[in-house]
Symmetry: C2
Subunit: 396 residues, 2 copies
């Protein structure tokens, strides 16, 4: 009795569940400390103390009916004002309350943007490798996902392939930087090229093409790398932000959308985002955590913990022959599998208690994703297993 769409989706998601079950099975057999689960993007760095302090202060200070009550579907005005001011200072922007919608994480944000924009069969372009959920979000609104093949040399957007993919039905292009699954930060030069191509396409097709920047990893950047702010490059830009990683709060579902006043049809879009937030059933971003963001806007997790994990794992993998870009952000490595079939490679890795995600899940076969948001000690323990995996392939 479930819908035809859901039948397909449930079948697809059974792979993820199967991996999760496999992890539990292995942990029961060998002990959790001897199973190296690199499959989940669940932050292990603790949220800043400021979060806990803010929660306690807020429940002690605020009127509970206001604190836990309904507000405008776009969020509390004071919180939106705090977010706008923070972004103005950090990125030299000119945002106000009217440019911000508080959302249930970036996932909620992307869904209300797509609900706002998409007519059936409208096209949304993504760059492989891409976060697999984009496919589901676009499908929620009967849009058509158009996948630009990867540039595996740099893992920056493949510009020539983008030009070929743009059509009169292109409604938006989604980017994600620092990227899941590669960890690559899209460069200033890439964003300039991307913007020029989109400007050109808007003229060619006489349409508006929106750039949707999905940014849960913006704050997770290493080696003093800067993450360019797409609003500076292209007028028709939406930012979808999340505090899931920057404050280690993925379960709380808190984030925001930025829509600069310059985007085409700004007023219609803001009205529609507000309504979409309500009718998709979010209603509003969780109210207490909106207020927490208002108090913790300057807080960040200790990113050096992830950087140390990255170095340990990257140095070992490359020393034993893995081919991998050294990522400057997010908490993933995306090495080439040691055999062409990435799914088969992940199956073999399980024999060494290594749980990895095939690149095929991100539209990029032949590679694997390793989420290194686990403890340093666990990564240390996993290194011999990776060596054995490499030996297995070298000796075959």
């Amino acid at each position: 009795m479930i819908s035809n769409k859901m039948k397909v989706l449930v079948a697809n998601s059974s792979t993820i569940r199967a991996m999760f079950e496999e992890g539990k099975r292995l942990a029961n057999l060998y002990g959790a400390e001897n199973v190296y689960d690199f499959s989940l993007g669940n932050p292990n760095v603790v949220p800043p103390d400021a979060v806990k302090e803010a929660i306690v202060d807020i429940v002690n200070e605020e009127n509970p009916n206001v604190l836990h009550g309904y507000m405008n579907n776009s969020g509390y005005e004071d919180v939106r004002d705090t977010v706008a001011t923070y972004l103005n200072n950090k990125y030299a922007l000119n945002l106000g309350t009217a440019n911000i919608v508080m959302t249930c994480g970036a996932a909620g944000g992307l869904n209300i943007i797509l609900k706002t924009l998409l007519n059936p069969d409208d096209e949304i372009i993504v760059f492989a490798p891409f976060f697999g959920e984009y496919s589901n979000y676009v499908n929620n609104f009967d849009g058509k996902l158009v996948i630009v093949p990867p540039d595996t040399t740099t893992f920056e957007p493949n510009m020539e392939a983008l030009k070929a993919a743009l059509t009169s039905r292109t409604k938006a292009v989604i980017i994600n930087s620092p990227n899941n699954p590669t960890g690559v930060i899209y460069s200033d030069s890439a964003l300039k090229q991307l913007a020029a191509i989109l400007e050109e396409a808007q003229k060619t097709f006489n349409t508006s093409i929106y750039l949707i920047s999905d940014e849960p990893y913006r704050e997770i950047a290493y080696d003093h790398a800067t993450v360019p702010y797409p609003v500076h490059y292209y007028k028709n830009t939406f930012i979808g932000y999340s505090y899931s990683k920057s404050l280690s709060l993925p379960g709380e579902r808190i984030g925001y959308i930025v829509v600069p006043s310059e985007v085409d049809d700004f007023n219609d879009i803001m009205g529609a985002l507000n309504v979409a937030n309500r009718i998709l059933g979010f209603v509003n971003a969780p109210s207490l955590f909106q207020k927490v963001i208002g108090k913790c806007i300057e807080s960040e997790v200790d990113v050096s913990i992830y950087a140390r994990n990255r170095d340990l794992l990257y140095n070992h993998l490359t020393s034993i022959g893995f081919d991998c870009i050294k990522p400057k952000g997010a908490f993933y490595l995306f090495p080439k599998a040691l055999t062409a079939d990435d799914r088969a490679f992940c199956e073999v890795a399980k024999q060494f208690n290594l749980l990895l995600v095939p690149g095929s899940s991100f539209g990029c076969p032949g590679y694997v994703r390793l989420a290194y948001c686990i403890s340093y000690e666990q990564i240390e323990r996993s290194l011999p297993a990776f060596s054995k995996l490499a030996t297995h392939y070298n000796s075959n």
Copy 2:
């Protein structure tokens, strides 16, 4: 550039925004204490102290990465177990963790149920008067809303009209008791009749027809009234529950779905609800408030405050000639307008600083909704305005 669907939705929602703006305008002109806003269902009774205590205890006791982290998309197992056990004790059921999905309020719950069930053009039956958002939720998944006309004598479901509305495309029937906007609690006898009609229709059409019970007002019941539990009446029942009213936490977006193991295609449905929670962008119900529910499962707001409001307003309105059922639940009165055109009546009411919602917004023209979840003192101050409104109509 916004989608065709959203253009319609934004236009419809401008009425609500217009009323909100009108309220602010009147408050500026006359002072907030002289504007009688009966338009919003935002609880004014304070959340139980237990909620605040639970929040502080939880953030002091729990590992913050677990507390604020990802869990199964259906929610924390311990919380789902607590909910199941509570319901088993209260309603003599046999639920377990596998029968509960924690959701972003009832709105989130209804949306994932409809995402799970609906193919395009499948029919969902609602009983007028009904919460207007059902129309939007069904439209999210391209379903067809079928409205059963009201029985204005009792405001219970119109059974003869239901029989006529059922077809081979009927996927589900939504009920809402205690009801928004009437405050009526559907009786034991009504639920028995409803179940018999649905059983019969399932046989006639050889289909599964689900009953979706939307229950944000279950705990808001007066005069020792009992609210029958639909699971006892009909096998294919979903319960969509919310703590928005029972704990006065509407902004926090916390609730759950109950799916008894006996429903048709139980396993497929639970798998699909889990996936739908993820891909619609909820991902999971907000994590801290899941834990709050785990600690506050026995807590309730002081419903006597609403009962006192109801009595004050109901007694006055009926004394000055309004025709109104005395509701046993929720926090709304639904009197007949003093003229056939309910929208015109609400416009006239504004002249007396009374903000009411036309019954047309609930599929029931000729009536108006008054939300009495405002202070007793404010209701007291409003009574002369209602008297003037009645005099206006009686003298014309």
